[in-house]
Symmetry: C2
Subunit: 409 residues, 2 copies
Amino acid sequence: MNKTLLKKYARLVVEKGANVQKGQGVVIYAAVDQQDFVCSLAQQCYKAGAKWVDVDWSCQELEKIIYRGETITQLCKVPQWRREKHQVIVDELPATIFILSEDPDGLAGVNKEKLQKATVARKKVRKIYMDQYDGKQQWVIAAVPSPKWAKKVFPELKKSEAVNKLWDAILQTVRVNKDNDPIAEWDAHNKNLKARYQKLNSMKLDKLVFNSSNGTDFTVGMNPDFLWMGGEETTQSGVAYNPNMPSEEIFTTPMKGCAEGTVVSTMPLSYRGQLIENFSVTFKDGKAVDVKAEKGEDILRDMIASDETAGYLGEVALIPKTSPIKETGILFYETLFDENASCHLALGAGFNNVIPGYEKLSLEECVAKGVNDSIIHVDFMIGSEDMNITGYDKDGKEFKIFENGNWSF
Amino acid sequence: MNKTLLKKYARLVVEKGANVQKGQGVVIYAAVDQQDFVCSLAQQCYKAGAKWVDVDWSCQELEKIIYRGETITQLCKVPQWRREKHQVIVDELPATIFILSEDPDGLAGVNKEKLQKATVARKKVRKIYMDQYDGKQQWVIAAVPSPKWAKKVFPELKKSEAVNKLWDAILQTVRVNKDNDPIAEWDAHNKNLKARYQKLNSMKLDKLVFNSSNGTDFTVGMNPDFLWMGGEETTQSGVAYNPNMPSEEIFTTPMKGCAEGTVVSTMPLSYRGQLIENFSVTFKDGKAVDVKAEKGEDILRDMIASDETAGYLGEVALIPKTSPIKETGILFYETLFDENASCHLALGAGFNNVIPGYEKLSLEECVAKGVNDSIIHVDFMIGSEDMNITGYDKDGKEFKIFENGNWSF
């Protein structure tokens, strides 16, 4: 990949994504085969005045060997040094940068019980710390291609061609090209998203009804006071950042306990390195009570059993079929992209920061207001070509939100 | 590199080097661009019954960026999670595998004060833990080529050719080829080294005198009770392991405070990613009192000032000019190899395990017997074509040890 473009992208992630502050630490999570981009990120972090940069390397191939080689008991242990690494985030509130590049089904074939139990054990530990720094520090998720991921997306191409083509697609969706100023582009994009969510906030919606010819027939309850959000967010101390790059969604947290009917997936879901395809989820009293899937049904069942609240919804997100990600025509097999191509829901934890004044509330108070709390948060896509979405406020007043897959307003 | 050979090498490192025991943990230290070999090692570890494998990844290019981007104060901080990672070794005594692959002068250009102070600060912390696990767990250092290291060794070749040629050289020196059983070869090799050091032990040497036409004129005191060692070592709990692959040296710890005269280097020394070339060290009362170098004299001066005892000797090692490493005719710019091509000394810490019954001695008692203690241990090469070494016991009895660069017996 062209070095100038790579640098432009790294700068965008550091300045507009994480918005690294002078004197702040930075933790970068990345795969071992991404050293060039990680080095470029680190340089941009120091340029932005970072006090320190720590890179937490991962290797999916090694992870697979570890899953195969260790017992469940061993895999569920979280060593003290790993806890101390989480504690650094609580204590110092560094910006965190997550670089995705992994093969979407790179952990296929790993014993599912091991994978599920180890994932739950680690997430439980991580949550102890996350609950303490959530909303207080900037974070961003962005992606770079690995050869295996690129081959998954473009199986007909040679490895190097596939990688180049995935680079092109990623840079296009994050608004980086050789002629533009991506930071200015993101400012304009954030402004557009803001106008959209402000309109939704003014409706004070009490519920949303989803209908599509593919079988989706679904109603989800809303808390009229919860805020819709999109694009740029702000930490409690007032630092703006863009948590997802790309990001096209307008989203909020639905009301826990209010979801009825069935939603049909419109894209495959990659969960912990394994694919779930052609599935549907049926809700009753807000909870997933039945799931069906042509592929990976057991993974889906295990996922919603991760803890007692994993079957409740944590997110409703609206994306029109004219989304630039949708328009690439590419199935990325990666939620960061695919969620921005299609309306979606998330199973698991909701976002507390949709509650005005959430900073002063305890976790329990947020839950009492209707935000689900769980160790998982997994997006799955339900947007379709003919999706209609209608909103209602407490008085039954109707608002057309989506018609035939696009915004009504 | 041929996959079968790679696997054979990984198995040698795990079984004969670290000798990973059933139920034992393993820590692997390796660079991010060595994931294939690391994965192969991890597989061999689990095959040997490892309970867990943790890989501590490093990236020299990133390290350089970090050195440039951070203040000395920040660089000298050792976070709690890093201490906890050292503590794991104290608590669980895993086998440790160090995989070298870095560019020998990959940190050239980094501010020397930063490098020196940060190195000392980290080594001081590490030493707190090392002193607790030293002699109790198996460890091994082995190497794999990185493109930059390979280009340093074979500057005239294309990158891929250089890597292949360095692979060939490494595999040759560690006795791995497509037709042999490297484990059987190492058993035979260890037997030969043992016969050699047993002969030296029987001499009960009090001092060694080194002379060479290049200007080396040097006498070092010995403790007649200290043991000469070579090849395989044994943990306090009786597990055999081979700490260096390759290894051709017969070595011991000299008597602290007894070294007079000048030694002239015969090979460049790569220290912390920087090269020191054509240098000499003059000793008085056991301590380096003067150094001269055509290149890197300041690095050498800083090195012997790392702590109060860094200027004292910690090792004397004897290697004939017919060593297989010498016979490759290759200058590896890497101590693991180059030290096995030539007689050498080490500045800094000595080995306590040369004292019979050292397990029952405190660190202070070992120092009192003549073993230097320091945060550094740096080998430098002094063997030459016409090196003569003569030993003397307490009664002045003379033993010819080396004549014209080769063993006299």
